[in-house]
């Protein structure tokens, strides 16, 4: 595979993965907070 092609698709998937991980972590944190406050 061309190095530039690899660089491009790696950049896309790393950015997407990092963003999804950030969202999921924050979601888990907030769900726990809601449960603690209501429970």
């Amino acid at each position: 595979m061309e190095p530039l092609l690899l660089l491009g698709y790696t950049a896309i998937f790393v950015l997407l993965f990092a963003y999804v991980v950030r969202l999921q972590r924050r979601l888990a944190q907030l769900r726990k907070q809601v449960d603690d406050l209501n429970g």
Partner: protein
Amino acid sequence: MPRLSRVLGRLTRVLHTVMRSRVVKWGTLVSGVASLVLVFGFASEAMYGVRNGANLIAYWHISVAWSSAVALSATFVGSALYLRYGGRFWNRLAHSAGELGFLFATMTLITGSIWGKVIWNSWWEWSDVRLVTFLIVWFIYAGYLAVYAATENSSDEKYASVYGVVGFVTVPVSYMATRLWTPTFHTTTVGNPEVEANIDPLALVVSIVAVMLLYAYLMSVRIELHELEDKVLLAQEARRRH
């Protein structure tokens, strides 16, 4: 006016349902895999007369560019509806779309720079109107996110919405830049018989569908995050009162 409110309410529910449906989640996965198979298995490596494997980055470059345009348009619509009718959903929609639009715009700049190196033998060209106007869009939405982050209550949120409406002007200008000014590197491809881009239409359409579904899925998660933040605030307030 009550009729319009009903229509907007129904639209809100439809958007909620569509974004959270399984069709979006599974559709993202299936079309994403199909896109990669089509791009890496069947698409030609020759584009604009240049044969290079790195040309295949074009399929996702174009897809993320279109998705960022859709996302930034959603920021405009959400901001305008929030300013006109209020309602937390429109403000959440505007901010979520702005954040995703910024993410997709960042990917567009990175992949565009890589493709530019292949086709034009240059990472960046300050003389190209599309590149420069798109960079302006990127900065405008970085500013939008900064303004939104600085708002603390609902009255402040209107400033971010005004920014979301005014800043949107740069988006159509960037997308029409090659028609408005003489292009140096980027040329008008759609509807231009003089340009032979040699982009496989099926691979491109499937890639655009994949990225759009991914965008819808990420929007649903981002909006859920906003809703949970609101729930936490309400619960904390209720606790303080008791």
